[in-house]
């Protein structure tokens, strides 16, 4: 453990001497840094989009799913009995948090868009409305319908499914797109860093040859390149991530009410960001190591 820590420290600080044997810069270096930065930048947005889509899907299903309505319209003399029967059924239905009959004024408010505020509700043969609040897990609407049919034939369940389904599907698809692009971006980044490392090593054929001929160990040569590239890729990715995070944090999140959600990170989601430079560095490390050892294998 301690040895590993020491190795890791040596890797980072190291004798800067040995780093000097690799040419300091050049276009492939810039290319690596820039690719890592750009791809990390894109990845942050894809990540944000995927989180936002996830939240959106949750909210949309929440907002619509957690309230269902049961309408009881029966001959006037049976109405009250059927309402009580429905409430009794609901009490024994798993997944339902609470249920209550809407008082007249709330029914009136609900109907106002259709009839105006002056509807004389008491004089009308309108049905009783029962508001059902679900638990997070939801309930089984088909089962409930069957039971209601038996206990209160005048009761009709409206679980807003019609409205909910396409919205949730939309949010789900958005999230799918975000995750897919995240995967794509990751794969493309890995391939680019790999190719950039290989290009740099190919361009440094003479350096490798000279080092090998003056008696450098493979380890020494590979390490010098690996350290360079890992730090470059990780640094580039960190810069890209930071820039994107800054932009997301600064862009004023349009206030969206409960129905929409801002594009950005919330709470623990921010913790995903430091992963990006780490992953970029890890890919660079593996790719450079493989490329360096391959280049060395061609030389005695």
């Amino acid at each position: 453990m301690n040895a590993q820590l020491a190795r890791a420290r040596a890797f980072l600080t190291s004798d800067l001497q040995s780093d000097r044997v690799v040419p300091p810069s050049g276009f492939t270096a810039r290319l690596t840094v820039f690719s890592a930065a750009a791809m990390a930048f894109l990845a942050v947005f894809a990540l944000a989009l995927s989180f936002a889509a996830g939240r959106l899907a949750d909210r949309w299903s929440d907002a619509l799913a957690q309230s269902a309505t049961i309408r009881v319209s029966a001959p006037e003399d049976q109405q009250e009995r059927q309402v009580q029967a429905v409430l009794a059924v609901l009490e024994t239905t798993p997944g339902i948090a609470s249920a209550r009959e809407l008082p007249a004024d709330e029914t009136q408010a609900l109907l106002a868009p259709w009839f105006g505020p002056d509807l004389p509700i008491e004089t009308l043969p309108i049905p009783a409305l029962i508001e059902v609040v679900e638990e997070g897990t939801g309930f089984d609407p088909e089962g409930l319908r069957l039971r209601l049919q038996a206990e209160a034939p005048g009761a009709v369940l409206d679980d807003h499914d019609r409205w909910r389904r396409p919205l949730v599907a939309a949010a789900g698809r958005m999230r799918l797109v975000a995750v897919a692009s995240l995967v794509l971006i990751g794969a493309a980044t890995a391939a680019m860093i790999t190719l950039a490392a290989q290009a740099a090593l190919a361009a440094n054929g003479q350096v490798i040859r000279v080092l090998r001929l003056v008696g450098a160990h493979d380890r020494y040569i590979a390490q010098a390149f690996v350290r360079r590239f890992t730090l470059r890729a990780a640094g580039g990715a960190a810069a890209g991530t930071a820039l994107a995070a800054l932009m997301l944090a600064l862009v004023p999140s349009v206030e969206t009410g409960s129905f929409l959600t801002g594009l950005g990170f919330q709470g623990g989601e921010w913790l995903w960001l430091p992963l990006l430079p780490v992953l970029g560095g890890a890919v660079a490390l593996a790719a450079t190591r493989a490329a360096a050892l391959r280049a060395l294998k061609g030389l005695m």
Partner: protein
């Protein structure tokens, strides 16, 4: 020191070197000649294990090179100083750093005074801080020679080390190699320059090897 037993080598299209046997005793001084394209560079590459023989056996410091691991070959090269015909450097490091490179990669301390003295010997004191691409052809060869000897190697292999330098400078470089040989180092110089061989023979008991018709010959006293 270095021993070849029935060594053959070919790059693919037929054999270039055939059944060569040779024993380089410690402290010996050899020249290697032969027409251009005869295989002198190839022969030297076999000695420091840049190439492995297609047949036969090369023994360096009592170890068969065929059995050596890559790290062991690296260690071996720290004991053999080589001046390559196409003197390659790290173009982003100064001449002084390039000359000190073998010490750097072997993680040995660099004695600045010694480094400067050596650069003075090969006439590169003024070019210490130059970059290799700014050197003239002869200056490159001299820097390569300095790099080959800085580790105090047991064996020095020099491939055409004076091809691009004037007569006075070549005498100076030869003198450096003769001095090292007197200190007990084994020296092999591949060269076309008969005058260099003649003037060396006046200073040291040098033997001349010649590659001709794919075989290694020991040239007579006629040189």
């Amino acid at each position: 020191m270095i021993e070849l037993e029935n060594v053959s080598y070919g790059y693919g299209g037929g054999e270039l070197l055939t059944e060569m046997s040779l024993k380089l005793a410690p402290g010996s001084f050899h020249f290697l000649t032969g027409p251009s394209g005869a295989g002198k560079t190839t022969f030297l590459k076999l000695l420091y294990a840049e190439l492995l023989p297609s047949a036969g056996r090369v023994t360096v410091f009592d170890q068969s090179v065929r059995g050596l691991g890559r790290d062991e070959i690296a260690e071996l090269r720290r004991r053999i100083g080589v001046v390559h015909q196409d003197c390659q450097f790290l173009d982003h490091l100064s001449v002084a750093e390039n000359v000190a490179l073998p010490l750097l990669v072997a993680d040995r301390p660099i004695d600045t005074r010694e480094l400067v003295e050596l650069l003075g010997w090969v006439g590169l004191k003024g070019q210490m801080d130059a970059l290799p691409p700014e050197l003239s052809g002869g200056e490159r060869q001299r820097a390569a020679l300095a790099r080959a000897v800085i580790m105090g190697p047991d064996v020095i292999l020099a491939d055409e080390p004076t091809g691009n330098v004037d007569w006075e400078m070549s005498q100076r470089l030869l003198h450096l190699l003769v001095e090292l040989n007197r200190m007990g180092k084994t020296v092999v110089i591949a060269t076309h320059d008969m005058n260099l061989i003649r003037s060396a023979k006046a200073q040291v008991a040098a033997r001349v090897l010649r590659i001709k018709g794919r075989r290694l010959h020991l040239a007579g006293a006629d040189l």
